[in-house]
């Protein structure tokens, strides 16, 4: 015997298409969104560095490769004096070897022996983000009093990275829109196909006095369940891949890429299967509602 409420759906109506499209779209969308969030996190980090970090490098070796010895300390002294009197600078400290090590880890890995590298001395300058110093002025002043010092604002290359990341985020947004549009189109298509196959059922049930809202709701919930199942499958399949990519990125990039997500960001990811199911519900509802208008 058919289930109590299954009279609206004959066997032919069960579409194999919809759950798999949903699974595939959610799979792709979850990965793309996770990539987007990681990009966004990294972008925030980079932007923060651009805004806040300013370093002054004092070379420890001269052009011929000879140690500059006490000249280094004189330069550091002068540079600190200049920096501490520059408006917009909150403080300036010379990094010790441990701090250098920490700083280098993302780039060189934790086993690099910093003290044996011909690294310059670094003065880390903390900047008042609201009223940053005028960089050009600072550069000129520094050139005048400490000609060997190099002002590194990270701005140049990080700026490119930020622009690239922003473009990537726009692209990811477009891809997500496209994926959702694909789901909506698939739902309209499969629903209409299933409605035409079952037109005789709908026509009869309509003549027996079923309300439009009743029929429409039944279809929408039916497709919602189908889509939710498919979506969860797609989501679950995306998780191990996400972790794989995240571990891989950590191993190749250190901490430059922020591939770990906050719990709020995890919620965003869970929203992917949920919104695909919701989109399916709404699209089905609208499609069936429109279809039923063919009956008086």
């Amino acid at each position: 015997m058919a289930k109590r409420s299954d009279f609206l759906f004959s066997k032919e109506s069960s579409h194999f298409f919809l759950p798999w499209i949903c699974a595939l779209m959610v799979f792709i969308a979850t990965l793309v969104l996770a990539g987007g969030i990681a990009t966004h996190n990294s972008l925030k980090l980079w932007q923060k560095s651009v805004a806040e970090s300013l370093t002054v490098q004092i070379p420890t070796y001269n052009e011929e490769g000879k140690p500059r010895e006490e000249l280094v300390y004189r330069d550091i002294e002068n540079a600190l004096m200049l920096l501490r009197t520059t408006p917009g600078v909150l403080g300036a400290i010379v990094l010790n070897d441990d701090q250098m090590q920490d700083l280098m880890t993302p780039w060189l890995g934790s086993d690099a022996v910093v003290s044996q590298l011909p690294l310059p001395k670094l003065i880390d300058v903390s900047v008042d983000a609201a009223h940053p110093p005028v960089l050009e002025q600072l550069k000129a002043d520094l050139a005048a009093s400490v000609p060997d010092a190099v002002l590194d604002s990270h701005r140049l290359w990080l700026g490119d990275l930020v622009r690239f990341a922003n473009a990537l985020l726009t692209l990811i947004g477009l891809i997500l829109i496209l994926l959702f549009a694909t789901v909506a189109i698939t739902v309209v298509y499969t629903t209409n196909a299933s409605l035409s196959i079952q037109e005789h059922i709908l026509s009869l049930v309509h003549m027996l006095g079923a309300q439009d809202l009743y029929i429409t709701n039944r279809y929408a919930w039916h497709n919602f369940k189908v889509a939710l199942t498919g979506s969860l499958i797609g989501f679950v399949l995306a998780l191990p891949i996400m972790f794989g990519i995240s571990i891989f990125l950590k191993s190749v990039s250190g901490q430059i890429l922020q591939s770990s997500l906050t719990s709020v960001q995890w919620c965003y990811l869970v929203l992917v299967p949920a919104s695909v199911a919701l989109l399916t519900f709404l699209t089905t509802f609208k499609t069936v509602w429109k279809f039923l208008r063919r009956f008086l």
Binding site: M1, R4, F7, S10, H206, L208, L296
Partner: protein
């Protein structure tokens, strides 16, 4: 407050109703009649006279091209879709071609109106089994329409039309596929319902039926409707018909 003009004491009321399919000829022309609550009518006329078309107007499947149809007191052209659905629930229809759902067995086909009305499953089980037994189909309760004979399918269609004790029962050639004994039995089912207050219209070619049961006829010919009052015998009807046409 409902609009008084739209209210009618009749179960159905047709005023100047015409019907044409698409751009075809008028199948029904200037039809005027009304069905009082609890009345019983036959609908007669040659094949192609428009019986099914007229019934379609009564069960809200078609709209008239001209004129006004009122059902259960309300004009259909001003009814909302939701009200139409409510009205349809109070109408039982035996379709000429049954319209059974092939993916449901006999029980579930007959149970359909009750399930749409949200009836309890225990009640549904009781009523449907009873009625199917009454029309001689207790053994076929789990059979699918494709496994049943034409007459058996017809009886399922009838059972589905009456299971919810509709206010108006419209039966389109309901005895076309059964023998005379079963035809009589089914007619008694309609009479039983009629006694309980259901207004009944039975479209039929079956002269014997019309002759045996003394009810007025809605007779269709050339797109026009003639109401032939109840008579004591078939010959009386033909006599009256004759006299009318002589005038």
């Amino acid at each position: 407050m409902p609009n008084n003009e739209n209210l009618s004491p009749f179960i159905a009321e047709f005023n100047g109703v015409s019907l044409r399919y698409n751009k075809g000829p008028e199948i029904l022309k200037d039809i005027n009649f009304s069905l009082s609550p609890g009345s019983f009518h036959f609908m007669t006329g040659e094949s192609g006279a428009g019986k099914t078309s007229l019934l379609s107007l009564l069960y809200l499947h078609l709209e008239p091209t001209k004129g006004r149809v009122r059902l259960l007191g309300q004009a259909i052209d001003t009814m909302s879709r939701s009200t139409k659905a409510q009205v349809r629930r109070q109408i039982g229809v035996v379709f000429q071609d049954y319209h059974l759902l092939n993916h449901l067995n006999a029980f579930d086909n007959v149970a359909l109106p009750l399930r749409l009305a949200g009836e309890k499953e225990t009640e549904i089980k009781k009523h449907v089994s009873e009625l199917l037994a009454w029309v001689g189909l207790e053994k076929q309760i789990k059979s699918y329409p494709e496994e049943l004979s034409g007459g058996e399918q017809q009886r399922i269609a009838i059972a589905r039309a009456v299971i919810h004790k509709p206010t108006l029962l419209l039966a389109d050639e309901p005895t076309g596929n059964v023998d005379d004994a079963m035809a009589k039995r089914l007619m008694y089912l309609f009479l039983e319902l009629n006694k309980l207050g259901t207004t009944v219209v039975v479209a039929t070619h079956n002269v014997g039926l019309v002759k045996n049961f003394h009810f007025p006829q809605l007779h269709l010919a050339d797109g026009h409707l003639k109401i032939i009052p109840a008579a004591d015998s078939y010959s009386d009807i033909t006599n009256k018909l004759f006299k009318r046409e002589e005038k």
